[in-house]
């Protein structure tokens, strides 16, 4: 919101908002905040906290001060994200087929073969329209100079888009008069775009309108609210594993009138749990035989199997190279500078500078497996040093960027808090990106961790129609 860290000048596109917010008293804020919290609770816009008998639900803390992105800035982000998703999809198509990128020496084979989510079982399987990642959530950060960097890609089952929509509804209720004059791009076409994306990949043999369903691990999953939200918004069924069964390598759902064929599955279940015949045999969440049905082209899955290889933080390191290799373009959005512990020189650098770096395990999510050097105790740094020595393939390191901060309403006053941004990208017939995305905010003072499981909250994200 402010042009520099010392909070000097206000960025021009925030002026209108700030003037408006200046008129609000502390009581106004608190009253609006309470109204929103209550509405979220009543609506059940919650996530489940594990480890409680009744599966306690909490609302995702919401901050009233929106983040604003002017049109020109968004244009750039949109172009960059589109470029990235195209390259990632070409990469997945390639490594599950010819593996040109390995043969040409751009990425060492060992990195791919050792990636935790690389699915050998899927070599040479053709997926509908060659799209692997249909729904992607890419995390972005801004540094103190105002430049955006890609922090990671979530190419398996990224969640959070329902909060984007609910946050917007909440803001509209809290500031009805302000909203119409602000020139904010609407976000409500997401569900439609998602449905079109899913219909686009229907099996070729499918005649008429394909039957689309959302597959959820169930009501106790932390993102169950979102699964329901999306099914509802698209007007399709939400199913659990045991609602489905496979006969003659076709997938059916059990209905009150017998079995009904299913054509496209938006699955919010990780590969491991999809099919006990292929992956984890102990999983009761999935559907025996579903992977074979997919291989045979009788049912389509979004995202495809094996997309998790793109989530691997070591593979992430190579995305700019993929963009050059497949698209012959310069990357529009840079990665955060990254060191690979498995590269000799990088290894030395990492070990020499550990207390100043952020170290991440290659395949963790939700803010786990991360060490932020400057904020870590000696023993924690030692612990990570040890882990890196033991398994360098599993670690990357990045410099601690001075993440941009954003005014947030915390504990009765306005204070700067670190934020990031997760736009949601759909890749079907076209690429479409929801204007804005989920802005997460580290509500703990000084904290860099924005994950909801680690005390983070969120705020509405406004993309303006115009540059201001």
């Amino acid at each position: 919101m402010f042009t520099s860290k010392d909070e000097g000048g206000i960025r021009p596109h925030y002026k209108k908002l700030l003037e408006r917010f200046k008129d609000l008293t502390k009581e106004d804020y608190e009253q609006k905040q309470q109204a929103i919290d209550l509405a979220f609770l009543r609506l059940g816009v919650t996530f489940t906290v594990y480890g409680d008998d009744e599966g306690t639900e909490r609302i995702f803390p919401f901050d009233l001060i929106p983040r604003i992105i002017p049109a020109n800035e968004w244009d750039l982000l949109e172009k960059g994200l589109e470029q990235r998703i195209l390259a990632l999809n070409m990469f997945l198509q390639d490594i599950y087929h010819e593996q040109r990128i390995i043969k040409d020496g751009v990425i060492p084979a060992s990195y791919i073969l050792s990636a935790k989510h690389f699915r050998r079982e899927f070599m040479n399987v053709d997926v509908p329209r060659d799209i692997y990642i249909h729904i992607c959530g890419t995390d972005l950060i801004r540094d103190d100079k105002g430049d955006y960097y890609v922090l990671e890609d979530n190419a398996r089952c990224p969640s959070g888009v329902s909060y984007v929509m609910e946050n917007r509804e909440a803001m509209k209720r809290a500031f009805p008069n302000f909203f119409e004059a602000a020139g904010i791009r609407p976000i409500d076409s997401y569900a439609n775009n998602l449905l079109e994306t899913l219909q686009h990949i229907a099996p070729r043999k499918c005649k008429g309108d394909p039957t689309v369903v959302v597959l959820t691990p169930g009501v106790y999953n932390s993102a169950y609210f979102e699964h329901c939200f999306l099914a509802r918004a698209m007007g399709v069924e939400i199913v659990e594993g045991h609602d489905l069964l496979v006969r003659d390598s076709k997938v059916y759902m059990r209905t009150t009138r017998g079995l009904k064929k299913v054509d496209v599955i938006y699955r919010r279940l990780d590969d491991d749990f999809m099919d006990p015949c292929v992956f984890r045999r102990d999983s009761v969440l999935g559907v025996p035989g579903i992977i074979n049905a997919y291989r045979m082209g009788h049912v389509s899955l979004a995202n495809s199997i094996g997309t998790g290889v793109a989530d691997d933080k070591v593979v992430y390191y190579f995305v700019p190279k993929m963009i050059k290799f497949y698209l012959d373009q310069e990357p529009i959005l840079p990665n955060v500078p990254t060191y690979l512990a498995s590269e000799k020189e990088d290894y030395k650098y990492i070990m020499d500078n550990l207390p100043r770096l952020v170290v991440k395990a290659a395949n963790e999510s939700g803010g786990y497996g991360v060490m932020i050097g400057p904020q870590s105790s000696r023993s924690k740094i030692k612990e990570f040093r040890h882990m890196i020595e033991k398994d360098p393939r599993n670690f990357i390191a990045q410099p601690t960027l001075s993440l941009s901060r954003h005014p947030s309403y915390c504990g009765g006053k306005m204070e700067g808090r670190h934020i990031d941004l997760r736009p949601f990208i759909l890749c079907g017939k076209d690429v479409s990106i929801i204007p804005g995305g989920l802005t997460r905010v580290a509500l703990k003072k000084g904290s860099l961790v924005v994950n909801s499981s680690q005390g983070g909250g969120s705020k509405d994200t406004w993309v303006l129609r115009e540059n201001q």
Partner: protein, 338 residues
């Protein structure tokens, strides 16, 4: 419609109806106590025990509480988390089922179910309950009625709506038999009391438990007489809580689901409800009393159980091999394809 969804819809309305009925029973009996002048521990116990029996919670109650009095029994039936038939648990279960099928019900319906449960868990609820129990139980009933109104006004008239109806009417019929049956346990009146003032008060309470007091007055224009109360609650064609009415609605909903016309059937659930409805249509209260009211009510409860089971068999349950067997089946099929 997914079988699992049909199952959840059925149970949402069953649990809501159950919570509403429990709140009615507790409320009426609490008020009934006010009509008695002095009550010792024994007579308190004698009053509440049958009510516990009617909710099938007797044994559990005695495990959890030492004394059986108005406070402990109402607490047990209202807030006791360990009692699967307490109001709070019914509302929790209704809400969990609603959460599972949120995509199938209207936002308004979900919000109201969620709100009702959240209220039940709030401090406000406890406070209201101890200060003004009448208002508290009234609020629970009103919430339930609001939800039914919302279902009427916002849930589309399709199969799902019929499953909501099926759950509601099956539960309601069952609870009406239990409310009536309480009379048979309540202080089996000593000979002197039969037809006396206390007896009348109690049959009046039963009418109120079923929200049928006003209807009774209107139809019979007479004092509260036991056989007329039973007639109203079992055989009335119009009274929305009578067993015959519930069976009529249940039968209608089942036929709407399958598309089967009147006077025939396409599955065993329809066969059972159709047959029971005919029986009720052609019965008189004299027949029932000849058989013995308690025995008759017992049989009805059995029949409701069977109907519930047949509905489950017809629409919800698809026989399925175990996961291990299923995996083997898939392996074999895939081998053949290769």
């Amino acid at each position: 419609m997914l079988s699992r969804v049909a199952d959840s819809l059925f149970w949402i309305s069953r649990y809501l109806e159950r919570a509403e009925n429990i709140s009615r029973i507790v409320d009426v009996n609490l008020q009934l106590m006010l009509d008695f002048q002095t009550l010792d521990d024994e007579s308190l116990k004698a009053h509440w025990e049958p009510i516990l029996q009617s909710t099938a919670g007797e044994d559990l109650f005695h495990k959890l509480y030492k004394k059986c009095n108005s406070k402990t029994v109402t607490e047990f039936l209202t807030f006791q988390q360990k009692n699967p038939n307490s109001i709070v648990r019914c509302l929790y279960d209704a809400r969990e089922n609603a959460r599972m099928v949120r995509d199938q019900i209207s936002t308004d319906m979900w919000e109201e179910v969620n709100k009702t449960y959240l209220f039940m868990r709030s401090k406000e609820a406890k406070k209201l309950w101890s200060n003004e129990p009448y208002d508290f139980y009234r609020r629970i009933r009103m919430n339930s009625l609001v939800i039914q109104g919302i279902i009427d006004a916002t849930v589309q008239q399709d199969e799902g709506r019929e499953f909501l109806q099926v759950g509601k009417y099956l539960e309601r019929a069952d609870k009406t038999t239990r409310i009536l049956d309480v009379k048979y346990h309540i202080l089996l009146p000593s000979v002197d009391d039969v037809g006396g003032a206390i007896d009348k008060v109690q049959w009046g309470a039963i009418l109120r438990s079923a929200s049928a007091y006003d209807a009774y007055k209107k139809i019979y224009v007479s004092d509260v007489v036991p056989w007329k109360v039973a007639e109203l609650l079992i055989l009335s064609e119009e009274c929305p809580r009578s067993i015959r009415y519930c069976m009529k609605m249940l039968d209608l909903s089942l036929r709407n689901i399958s598309g089967t016309g009147k006077a025939s059937f396409s599955n065993s659930a329809e066969k059972l409800t159709g047959r029971l409805l005919s029986e009720l249509n052609y019965s008189s209260i004299e027949d029932i009393f000849k058989e013995g009211l308690h025995e008759y009510l017992d049989q009805l409860q059995d029949k409701f159980n069977k109907i519930g089971k047949e509905i489950f068999k017809t629409y919800i349950f698809t026989p399925m091999p175990s996961l291990d067997e299923e995996i083997d089946v898939q392996f074999q099929q895939q081998q053949q394809q290769q």
